[in-house]
């Protein structure tokens, strides 16, 4: 669960609000219920006292008759009611033990004998006493009481159902509001998926608009406008480098032709010939740089993708190593090939071979005499991996992030002259294949490049696995 997500915050806010409302409602209900039961008990026992007086006022002198009258009318024991009639300190009547045994009538305290009506809560019993006066001037005190066990039970049930019900209600509200928020945000989810899938392989794709004319649609429109601008800027840059490269080639052809023609005459002074040769070498270098630039701009462009075929990465690595063996031997570097089973990928054979050639060439160039390069090919779930590890001079951590950048060269004193496009080409080929490349390096120990490619379609599902680019780093300096 993402605690900062909009969905979570909305659900939390909603549930919090509902909790406050639910708690206030429950407290109010319980409080009102208490008030109601107290008021009704009070009126009940007050009324009963007057009723008792009505039926016994003529029989005060006869306790037996009083007992009969009250027991018949109110059946106190069965109904858990309490009655006591006293006169001049003498108890004329007291009710029997209640059925629920919640109080003992014999032990009920006498309320203060002041003349007015009085109430008292005694244990589980709510008591009332009132003085009446017979025509003879005799004062009779009638006390009535009602056990509140039943109303207490009702109140407990109410509280229990609220205590259980409120969390359930909150849970249901949370789930419900989560579903609703997800539904409300679903257009955003679609936008995310589409935006994630947009790459320079399908630069014309745009975020779908639902025509809801709300803020979500406004966001989609803004995204699409941004994509248009990016696309156009990218196309522009790409066309520029492609056009520039093309335009450079014709003058280069003229320079090269004129120089060759001049040198073919063979009547030049040695120093002039040497100068012309140097220029020709530089023409060849420029021409290589132009080739690399054009290659990069083609790889970045959807039309640069050629037909892919299923091929064994393992066999391709072995073949490349075989062809580069002598180049490595020249620098006294040992090449170790991959072992293991076939690893099938779908791709452009020449381009993938170029990846290996460039990585191996890099490993050879920046190796030490007597060093080695280990090439490994392995298969993971849905992916194929190619690792080229060398025992070379390594790359300092601060430079590691830039090694795949165009025209980037770690330092000028690495002895070899290149345009700094080899690794950029490797990266763009990997990306064009839906894969990625990462590098780890330790200065003085060696560098390891890891290429990850989606496994061939028949090995996995129909859809190619998109592998996010990862640039892991291992930053340790040599001792």
């Amino acid at each position: 669960m993402n605690w900062r997500s909009i969905s979570f915050r909305l659900v939390a806010l909603y549930c919090g609000l509902l909790l406050v409302l639910g708690l206030s409602f429950s407290l109010f209900t319980v409080f009102s219920f208490e008030r109601y039961t107290e008021a009704s008990s009070r009126s009940l026992i007050t009324g009963r006292a007057a009723e008792v007086w009505d039926i016994i006022r003529g029989a005060i002198g006869n306790p037996d008759e009083v007992r009969t009258l009250i027991d018949q009318r109110f059946s106190p024991a069965d109904q858990n009611r309490f009655f006591r009639v006293t006169s001049a300190g003498r108890t004329i009547y007291v009710s029997g033990m209640p059925a629920d045994g919640s109080f003992d009538p014999a032990k009920m305290p006498f309320l203060d004998a002041t003349p007015g009506p009085r109430y008292l809560n005694y244990g589980t019993v709510f008591l009332y006493s009132r003085h009446f006066t017979t025509p003879d001037g005799e004062t009779v005190t009638i006390e009535t009481g009602q056990s509140d066990l039943y109303s207490k039970y009702l109140e407990d049930s109410l509280v229990t159902s609220l205590v259980i019900g409120l969390p359930l209600l909150l849970l249901a509200a949370a789930a419900g509001s989560y579903v609703l928020i997800r539904r409300a945000l679903s257009p955003v989810e679609v936008m995310i998926q589409v935006a994630e899938a947009i790459s320079f392989r399908n630069p014309r794709n745009r975020v779908p608009l639902l025509g809801t004319a709300d803020r979500v649609e406004a966001l989609g429109l803004a995204l699409n406008r941004m994509l248009d601008r990016l696309d156009s800027a990218y196309q522009h840059a790409n066309r520029f480098s492609s056009d520039a490269a093309h335009e450079l080639r014709t003058p280069l052809a003229i320079i090269q032709g004129e120089l060759e023609f001049a040198m073919a005459r063979g009547e030049l002074a040695a120093d002039v010939e040497s100068a012309l040769s140097n220029v020709l070498d530089e023409v060849a270098r420029l021409s290589k740089i132009i080739d690399s630039l054009l290659m990069l701009s083609r790889m970045d462009h959807p039309s640069g993708q050629r037909g892919y075929a299923s091929l064994d990465l393992h066999a391709l690595a072995a073949e490349t190593i075989d062809q580069m063996q002598l180049l490595a031997a020249e620098k006294r570097v040992t090449l170790k090939g991959p072992t293991g089973a076939k690893v099938m990928v779908s791709g452009d054979r020449d381009r993938l071979k170029q990846v290996m050639v460039n990585l191996l060439d890099n490993g050879i160039k920046y190796n030490v005499a007597g060093g080695h390069i280990v090439v490994d090919v392995s298969a993971g779930p849905g992916v194929a991996r190619l690792t080229v590890s060398d025992s070379g001079i390594g790359i300092a951590p601060e430079n590691l992030d830039y090694v795949f950048d165009r025209f980037y060269r770690v330092s000028t004193n690495r002895g070899e002259v290149g345009a700094g496009l080899g690794l950029a080409i490797v990266k763009s080929i990997c990306h064009a294949h839906g894969g990625s490349i990462s590098v780890t390096s330790k200065v003085g120990v060696g560098t390891s490049f890891c290429v990850t490619l989606p496994a061939a379609a028949h090995n996995i599902g129909a859809a190619p696995v998109s592998v996010p680019e990862q640039r892991s780093r291992e930053i340790e300096s040599a001792a």
Binding site: A245, H246, E247, R249, T250, L252, A253, I254, I255, Q256, G257, E258, L259, E260, F261, M263, A264, E273, S274, L276, S277, N278, V279, L280, D281, V283, A284, S287, K288, D291, S292, L294, R298, S303, G304, R306, T320, Q323, M324, L326, L327, E330, D350, R351, K353, Q354, M356, V357, D361, G422
Partner: protein, 226 residues
């Protein structure tokens, strides 16, 4: 042999004409597709060298027009675009060969000769330069009668030099021929292999056969190293 060069860059056209004339061809040069088409209607050409970017239309459409008129002379395309798609498109339109700028004049000459079937059409199975012998059937190499063991790559490289003995082959021509596209830009591999080959062939002989032509490439050519 008459060659028509259609190229709008005057200087490139100039150097093309001069170098092909030096090889003994008769060369006409024009700068537009329209002129090119008229020239082809007017006279007979044995070969056309065609630039793809012309001021009045693409070389590819001119090529289609030429082929529609049932003219079957070989056409060599010159272009600044080196991508596969462009190559395929032009081969489908009827091109016979393709050269990406910048190119070595030596390569242009070799290709032109190959297209005109006038080059060193090798019939013999045993090739000889000085006292170095290469047998294409047994793939054996001898110098002064002594057998020299070569790896398959070294043999292919030497054979290629033999087939164009006396001509300079550029590193990129050698890479393209002996290795494959993936090694483009890795021309130092050629130097390494030539070094090994030279060690096996020229070591201990006064006459050196493999010559480095600085700035251009290598050739198989009897000479004495100073």
């Amino acid at each position: 042999m008459r060659i028509l060069a259609i190229e709008d860059e005057e200087r490139l056209l100039g150097i093309l004409s001069r170098s092909l004339k030096a090889e003994g061809f008769s060369v006409d040069g024009v700068g537009t597709a329209q002129e090119g088409l008229e020239q082809i209607k007017l006279s007979h050409y044995d070969l056309v060298i065609l630039d793809l970017q012309l001021p009045d239309g693409s070389g590819t459409s001119l090529l289609r027009q030429i082929r529609q008129q049932q003219r079957k002379m070989p056409v060599l395309i010159l272009t600044a675009r080196g991508d596969i798609e462009s190559k395929i498109e032009n081969f489908e339109a009827g091109a016979d060969d393709y050269l990406t700028k910048p190119f070595a004049l030596a390569e242009l000459t070799i290709r032109v000769q190959a297209l005109l079937r006038r080059g060193p059409l090798i019939q013999e199975n045993v090739l000889k330069v000085d006292n170095l012998e290469l047998n294409r059937l047994t793939r054996q190499v001898r110098r002064g009668g002594k057998r020299i063991e070569l790896s398959p790559k070294e043999y292919s490289l030497l054979e290629y030099l033999f087939l164009h003995a006396g001509r300079t082959l550029s590193r990129s021509m050698i890479v393209e021929r002996i290795w494959d596209q993936s090694f483009e830009g890795l021309t130092n591999i050629v130097d390494v292999y030539v070094g090994h080959l030279r060690h096996k062939i020229d070591e201990g002989f006064d006459t050196k056969l493999i010559r480095t032509v600085r700035g251009l490439g290598y050739s198989l050519d009897p000479h004495t190293r100073s």
